[in-house]
Amino acid sequence: MTATDRTPPPPVDLARRNGYFDPPPRMGFFTDTSVCIGCKACEVACKEWNHVPEDGLDLLGMSMDNTGMLGANSWRHVAFVEQRRPGTAGPEEQTLAVEARLRAAPRGGSELGTTPLPTAPGGAVADLGMPTVGRPGDGTGAETRTDFRWLMESDVCKHCTEAGCLDVCPTGALFRTEFGTVVVQQDICNGCGYCVSGCPYGVIDRRPHDGRAQKCTLCYDRLKGGLTPACAKACPTESIQFGPLDELRERADRRLAELHGQGVAEAELYGRDPDDGVGGHGSLFLLLDVPEVYGLPPAPVVPTRSAPQIWRRVGAAAAAFALAGIGAFASAAFGDHP
């Protein structure tokens, strides 16, 4: 099984190692957030093509983001961060206003992308101020412009080389396709929910009422027909690029060098490194800040890597349990008590 290997195989071998004889190259996304304009065409195209139902219509107060998170009913999610300087989250007052509502939600806000948040008691809405038109510093000259910037990032399932969701799935519903992607077979999934906690990125979730786990399929049906996934097709700026993974990795490296050359020192690749905790992503990202600013985990590790350690401890505990049982009755059998 690929999943437990410490050194992940090169991209093409992934499908082969999963039993495909003559697989196509491993396919993926490269999401270059530096050219994202936040139009959400990807979110819409994904919903339309994949018949992804509504995830709640709400104003979240997260800048222009009213989706909030990936989930069972949001397979692409565009994050928006209004930022005064790199390395900080959005303006503090904004975060505080949003966070209180998230904390009060039944799943701490992680239901976003799947179900809406409950409406605030009494319908109270936090006042974030009136939106203004125009760029900061306009009308006064460039010298008074602030460091304000707007980050946008279209998030998606990472299609991990070592996928936590796939490893823990007890029915075989989650499987590795010939394209090296990770897909849920809807006729098999029985909604046990293990994948939801197995994913270190908070991507996959169970759809209420439907009861099955849902996430991005990298448009498996379109790929089989030789088509580009819906989101990449709809993206007007080529922020979402689709192609064979080794090509995308080269493209990502080139783009990173280009941005670094232009003085954008904070640009970094996310999921590019095949030696990272999940063996690298099938969908790479170019970010303009640390991952956590976008709500991404900075260095996740697939829980499967702990399995040998965990089972060793389980074995020891089981042995202790058995010994206690045997000891208890041996003492009764050989002792003077009945």
Binding site: M1, T7, M62, G71, T95, L96, R103, R107, S110, V168, C169, P170, T171, I188, C189, N190, G191, C192, G193, S197, G198, C199, P200, Y201, R206, D210, G211, R212, D275, D276, V290, E292, V293, G295, P297, P298, A299, V301, P303, R305, A307, Q309, I310, W311, R313, V314, A317, A318, A320, F321, A322, A324, G325, I326, G327, A328, A332, A333, G335, H337
Partner: protein, 325 residues
């Protein structure tokens, strides 16, 4: 929960939104952790009682084990998003999935417990008939086989919780199997003390005492080794449940050693204390995991520390993290 975030390091986040999805598992899974452990613990006591010829202890514990097993199956199936597809668990055997491993352990465990319990239910006037005697012999062999798989039933649930991205479960993976094994033995022994007269229940007392002692010790060790996740375990409902569990388990242990051999009432009270303590421990641990996913810091801070350490070239904090190259 709301507003009473424990103090600790701050980390940049996306509007404070969680990074992980909170588990979709409900209270049913927490309850199953208890009933599964109880089914395993009582099966060991019942099979042992069969061997040392303690009929009332045997009878009570086989029936208890079967009831706990039925409850477990009900809880597990009930928590599925598609309960009518529960048997899809049986279409693969997958070592990377603790849930699959657990399914097969339970499949091996269940039939023997069922046979033993049914044989206990045969009315007295039919016991000497040949079908009843055949059933008895069969139940005895199958029951012993079930007891042999019981240690797996009692402990695999620790792997089930720990092999997730949930910080509150993953970070305590070293101690959790021992905590759960202790908790299962304490509840199984406690149940035996509750159902059989003290003269017969001595092995149940020894088993319960060993389990309760193990549970208390594992709990302490776990707390001592916790990193940031300590905040979750030491706050709110989680902390209250686990404190209550500790008090009840310690009281049950004392009662088991001092009273339960002499008085039936003392044995029953100690048994109930141990059972309640075990259940509260399971709910406490379960809720700690859920709680730990609600705040992004428990995910982000340890990862950031490990990443920064790796970039500085110093020792990587987690041996299962980035491969040391």
């Amino acid at each position: 929960m709301t507003g009473d975030r424990p103090p600790g390091p701050d980390a940049p986040s996306y509007y404070g939104r969680p990074v992980l999805k909170t588990p979709v598992w409900e209270w049913k899974i927490a309850a199953y952790l208890f009933t599964g452990g109880l089914a395993a613990g009582t099966a060991v006591v019942a099979a042992g009682a069969d061997l040392v010829r303690a009929p009332r202890l045997r009878r009570g514990c086989w029936l208890g084990s079967f009831a706990a097993l039925l409850a477990s199956v009900g809880l597990l199936v009930g928590d599925l998003g598609r309960p009518e597809r529960f048997h899809h668990m049986l279409r693969v055997a997958k070592p990377t999935s603790p849930m699959s491993v657990g399914t097969w352990i339970l499949t091996a465990f269940g039939p023997g417990v069922g046979a033993a319990a049914v044989s206990e239910l045969v009315p007295a006037r039919w016991r000497s008939s040949w079908p009843a005697r055949l059933l008895r012999g069969l139940a005895r062999a199958l029951g012993l086989a079930s007891a042999a798989t019981a240690p797996g039933v009692a402990t695999y649930t620790a792997a089930l919780l720990s092999q997730t991205a949930v910080p509150g479960w993953h970070e305590v993976r070293e101690e959790l199997p021992f905590l759960f094994a202790g908790s299962a033995a304490a509840s199984g022994g406690g149940f035996g003390m509750l159902t059989a007269p003290p003269a017969e229940a001595r092995p149940a007392r020894v088993f319960a005492a060993a389990g309760a002692g193990g549970e208390l010790l594992a709990s302490r060790l776990m707390e001592r080794r916790m990193g940031l996740i300590r905040e979750v375990y030491e706050h709110g409902t989680v902390a209250r449940r686990r404190r209550a569990s500790e008090v009840l388990t310690a009281a049950g242990l004392a009662g088991t050693v001092l009273l339960a051999g002499r008085s039936r009432a003392g044995a029953a009270a100690s048994g109930i204390a141990l059972l309640t303590g075990s259940a509260l421990q399971r709910f406490g641990v379960f809720e700690a995991g859920v709680e730990s996913t609600r705040d992004p810091r428990y995910t982000v801070v340890p990862q950031r520390e490990r990443l920064d350490a790796a970039r500085r070239g110093s020792a990587v904090g987690d041996d299962v993290g980035r491969p040391a190259r």
